[in-house]
């Protein structure tokens, strides 16, 4: 929408942290951009950016202003989609910030299923740890978040919560393979490979380890669950994952896994949510519904 260029530019500057760098990605000169900002500040009567040596930063007036224009921008997208709906074409874009666990199996299947019905809808899928996912909602770079054990902030509005019991993952020829359930201490007899600190799985494990006298033999830490899972396939190591991130054994027999007794490690919760008080674009709202239904079918709703 043409009339929104100025505010889109300002949004970009706020994100980029400097006028010059924002100008570059917007493919205009810094002078033009600079003058747009000065003009807006002049109209408002107050500056919205602090000028620092290395760029600019929003001041408190700017925070208010940018918060507002981001609302405007994403509302306009919703309105456009709504109008397009009237004309019969179902279009839109859904942007999702999510934990690693949903990336390998759950989300691809969900998106594929949704796009069968609504081929006009495009998707953006971004890996964010539980803190960053909520930041993405706040600055409108994501419409939805699917996060495990999030650090709940006030701006996060839960759409659905499902239980996720921690599972140990190992190779099919591992001594633990075939067991129905495991105690945490069973796992700790083997080398373990763990996700790094910011992730929910690690968080849960730490809770469990506090009540355990056994010290884990952590041979590998990684921020990639993909890597952890594959590594656990080799060596006699044990990795950890939540059900939604586990492969379907009917189609993939390279792994074995078993749930860990909840006496040892508490049940985790996977949250689906959005920014509080934001009206989502139709496409995002419908996709959220579809995801919520799928989750509710498969897992225990809290």
């Amino acid at each position: 929408m043409r009339y929104m260029t100025t505010i889109r530019f300002i949004d970009a500057v706020a994100r980029a942290g400097s006028i010059r760098s924002a100008a570059e990605e917007l493919a205009i000169t810094s002078t033009a951009l600079n003058r747009r900002i000065l003009a807006v500040e002049d109209e408002l009567g107050v500056p919205i950016f602090e000028r620092l040596a290395r760029g600019v930063r929003l001041n408190s007036a700017g925070e208010i202003f940018v918060q507002h224009i981001r609302d405007q921008i994403s509302d306009m997208e919703r309105v456009r989609a709504q109008i397009a709906d009237l004309a019969g074409e179902r279009r839109g874009h859904v942007s999702i910030a999510c934990s690693q666990a949903v990336l390998p199996f759950f989300l691809p299947a969900q998106i594929e299923r949704y796009r069968v019905e609504h081929s006009g809808v495009t998707f953006g899928v971004f890996l964010r740890d539980r803190a960053a996912a909520e930041a993405s909602l706040a600055d409108h770079s994501a419409d939805l978040a699917i996060v495990f054990e999030p650090i709940r902030m006030a701006e996060f509005q839960t759409l659905l919560r499902v239980r996720q019991q921690l599972h140990a993952v190992f190779s099919p020829d591992h001594p633990l393979a075939g067991r129905e359930t495991l105690r945490l201490r069973d796992c700790l007899e083997y080398p373990v490979v763990l996700p790094t600190a910011p992730y929910g799985v690690r968080h849960l494990l730490e809770l469990g380890l506090q009540n355990s006298s056994h010290a884990p033999k952590v041979v590998i830490e990684s921020d990639s669950f993909e890597f952890l899972r594959r590594y656990a396939g080799s060596e006699k190591a044990v990795s950890f994952q939540i059900p939604i991130g586990l492969p379907d054994l009917r189609h993939d027999n390279r792994y074995a896994f078993a749930p860990i007794d909840t006496q040892d490690v508490p049940l985790g919760i996977l949250y689906t949510g959005q920014l509080r008080n934001r009206t989502l674009p139709v496409a995002a709202a419908k996709f959220a519904d579809s995801v919520a239904t799928a989750l509710a079918e498969r897992f225990d709703v809290v």
Copy 2:
């Protein structure tokens, strides 16, 4: 705010019902305005106005669009006021659509009291019957509505409700003067002067008259309560009004009045409200608080 000119223009066209007349009040030529509209329609991919012989009218896409841009426009005012607040100056504008009853005494006193504290805040006060008041909220031409017995629509969000017992008004030398309470039939023995149909007082009276065998001798109908009240001062006629619209007898002894038994005429309700889901400008929200407090002190809250 400069970047909003296009949408302000479109809002104006939607209100005016024709491009030419809107152009006139905007002090530009119709061609320029016309081209702005065509440009927006081009961007949206669909027309937002139906072209009629006598002007233009919003189509359904236009309804969605205009609803949205009106939100944007009034939100921006709120943001500006919020930013001005940061800079120390308390500014803003409050626009009120209200029933006649609150015009003569209540609202002037409330606004005066409020402006003592916040002299930077300006007011717009518009007389609207109970249907039109809510329309004013919907199209953002009013921030607040104070209406007696409104036709509740879905978009109306009640902030406070207070009881209002119907009173008969007459001159101090009227035979009815001095009575503590009246039955409706007492009043009907005299000529009555009534507000016209769209008003809440008339509505209540009609309800009362349905259960009465007496037919009223309606000598005057008027849409001005001021006129009705003054006329009742002369002749031996009886008029009707709710407490909030009655003068303070300590300062004005040109009138006498008495409540009408609730067996005959049900208690009416005065609503204070706003448009649902709208975040009011700070000034409007604070004034609404102040009004609500004053009403709650004086009348029974429902």
